[in-house]
Symmetry: C2
Subunit: 461 residues, 2 copies
């Protein structure tokens, strides 16, 4: 098992190839590191500059007055080996190699030499061909991606560069809190398994999301992912789910994307939840990172529109989840305020007449009923209520009930519904614009429980 402590908790980070020119990668990395608030020392390395962004500049890693733990290498490929030598001699522990121009363009030997050289000095390599890494507990943003990542509990490992940076931006838009982002690139040395082993034990991480094109060592990946699954969910977007997709992935990275069926089997063995799309993965991440796990299978759906309820029922059924009759206490509570024609099956239809306080009362009652284990709340924006008020009622019910159960919400409508979703997002209540997405996200929570159980039993036997 790789010891990644000093990668995530470094005392000092050097950036080789630091630049004074805004827009350059070597500039953005120094800027992000500084402005995201890293509390250790930051040493820009550039023989032609005295100062970058107010930080004293050094001509080489070995000229820095203290040992650095991490060296971020942002120089052209052909200069990387020299930097490795310099950094290795200076006692650095990790080389984070941004540079591209290695195995992904056929330079296999250069990449192998890079790793050999680094290992000679006891140094581990992240990359090459990456956009850097983030670890919010240490206030590290050593990427040339967006700066203002939201601190949180999700670790994201991306094998894709451009897509990875774009998704980094999407986490901000979607309000998803990040513990770590690892651009893993060519995986010349450190790979998914190494990071999974770290995140499994990391108290700052509760969900791991992986964008994976191909695994370096399938068996080790399964082992590490299975161990992680026992403690927290692992969600993967597998590039090349289909045979043609796999061929496209292989031509893209040069890495073998592998046989589709083999990956499916491997993910199952490891308990990894396989998302078919970026959106699905993000939806699941929200549901799993913001919710506790349910204590049982009694899922209750509350809606003001039959149609939204049916869409949810359909999507749950697609995922093997079948709604049961709602528990008695909840039904009795809801009966107190809904009209006689309201349907008190499951979904519970509090009708299109439902004012804001019916939402409050229904959600509150569902949280208080010990026989309810999880809740989907659906709201169709009608003329009677404003989605923001409904969002507030849901938030108040959660606060007042003093109980947290797995919950997903859908506010369906226009601009106002979108505002309501943002309000719920701020309170870390996963909310979506369509009922099917709320249902799929809830289903992911139950899928995780099943996957974990499967792994537990497999490891026992």
């Amino acid at each position: 098992m790789a010891d990644l402590t000093k990668l995530f908790y470094p005392n000092a980070i050097a950036v080789v190839g630091a630049s004074r020119q805004p827009g350059k990668i070597g500039y953005t990395i120094v800027k992000n590191l500084k402005e995201f608030g890293f509390q250790g020392r930051i040493y820009p390395v550039n023989p032609n500059a005295n100062e970058i962004l107010g930080l004293k500049c050094y001509p080489s890693v070995s000229s820095i007055p203290e040992p650095v733990d991490v060296v971020v290498v942002s120089v052209p490929a052909q200069k990387v080996l020299d930097v490795i030598d310099d950094a290795g001699k200076a006692g650095a522990k990790f080389a984070v190699v941004i540079a591209s121009g290695f195995k992904e363009v056929g330079n296999v030997e250069l990449e192998e030499e890079l790793v050999r050289r680094a290992h000679k000095y006891g140094m581990r390599v992240l990359g090459p061909n990456i956009f850097g890494y983030v670890y919010t507990p240490s206030k590290i943003n050593a990427t040339f991606g967006p700066r203002d990542v939201i601190p949180g509990n999700v670790a994201f490992i991306s094998q894709s560069g451009a897509l990875g940076i774009a998704l980094m931006g999407m986490t901000i838009l979607e309000g998803i809190g990040i513990s770590a982002i690892i651009s893993i690139g060519n995986k010349s040395d450190l790979d998914d398994a190494d990071f999974l082993e770290f995140f499994a034990e990391d108290p700052n991480t509760s969900v791991v999301l992986i964008y994976m094109e191909g695994a370096k060592d399938g068996k080790r990946f399964i082992e590490a992912a299975a161990k992680t699954t026992l403690k927290k969910p692992v969600i993967a977007i597998k590039a090349g789910r289909t045979e043609v997709g796999a061929r496209a992935a292989a031509s893209h990275t040069g890495s073998l994307a592998g046989n589709v069926a083999i990956y499916e089997a491997a993910f199952k063995q490891a308990g990894v939840l396989m998302a078919r799309s970026v959106e699905e993965a993000f939806d699941w991440v929200k549901a799993l990172s913001w919710n506790p796990l349910p204590e049982g299978e009694n899922l209750v759906v509350i809606t003001n529109g039959g149609g939204a309820g049916v869409q949810t029922t359909d999507t749950l059924a697609d995922n093997g989840i079948y709604l049961k009759e709602p528990p008695k206490y909840l039904v009795e509570e809801v009966k107190k305020f809904v009209p006689p024609f309201a349907s008190l099956a499951n979904p519970i239809d509090i009708t299109g007449m439902a004012p804001v306080d019916w939402y409050y009362k229904a959600v509150y009652a569902a949280l208080k009923d010990p026989e309810v284990h999880s809740i989907i709340v659906l709201y169709c924006h009608t003329a009677i209520t404003h989605p923001v008020d409904v969002a507030k009622a849901i938030i108040d019910a959660v606060k007042d009930a003093g109980v947290r159960k797995p919950m997903t919400v859908s506010l369906i409508g226009g601009k106002e519904a979108y505002e309501g979703i943002q309000l719920l997002t701020k309170e870390r209540i996963p909310a979506y614009p369509t009922p099917e997405r709320a249902a799929s996200a809830m289903a992911a929570i139950y899928k995780y429980l099943k996957a974990r159980k499967y792994v537990e039993e497999r490891l026992k036997s």
Copy 2:
């Protein structure tokens, strides 16, 4: 075939149950009708008011000084029959019955009597249990939903009330232009088939979207939908796609949602594209209503990120679409500016280094190449470019090329990507936040061609 001309092109509309009280349904309908700009006469009917929203009020339909074509009925269920008699005697042609409390709560007889009574006067009934209807070419918004529907070419028929209103709001948020919205409710008289027959011939409508719980007359629906498919796409969200969903739908509307397999077969016969979710339906509607149809199967994907390309390849493969080698002219054009390591297979990867003008040039070349029939453009927000500039480059390329081909775009990233999507939406270029959605929307265009061909051949034989 029902003659719906006067429903969609009325000279005068009466609103029975018009109210002076903001928030009331009978107030909102008059307000929407007036403020959305209906150019015919609007007659509020309320025996206890002289004026509503500046419009002279009448005590009954028969006291209105001219014959009205449409009577919107927003009074309690038990008063509806009297209104029908009054309106019928006054020569009204359509009763749009907002009121609920009919078959959906077990009052089958009342509903049957309503239709009998209306037919006695030669009047047709839309509803009951509906939120009204919209027809933008005549500037009619006779609903209590949102007012500012965007005029356009999509007709939306909704059997669900609350969900229907919410989706009406969503069309505004998503920038989807509407020709008509029909809340079809209990379908006591006019049903989907009647409206399909109208929309098939309606020059203002080029796509029909249906939210359907159950059909009244399956055979007639298939006939009408098939005829429509020959001229324009019909997309359906079928509530109760699954057996349990169908049971939930049946308990919700009292209408039989029917056997899942039967519906699937019926939709296939009719060439109806079945969307699994609201989001999918809306994504498809955009792609089909804003694009011409492709002249062939050569779909080209342009991307700056291999990962986004692979996700797209996977989703296309899920939909039975397999990318071919890109045409020579396009490849030669792209070769002129991309670096040597760019992948010129399909997806064409113009690399993460791609500045804005590479997007312009690649899209322009693809539009100019007669062997390219359709285009998916993918963009991952990286540090080099701003998504809004990329959106502008795509828009410029389309304008400058002077050719319109089916195109879907995905701008992947954070807030800035969202802004770029909105810019493209304004130009009616369908754009999505994830590559899979852009791929699924493009696939829907090809699915329509297949469905149409199937129906053509079926009707021939």
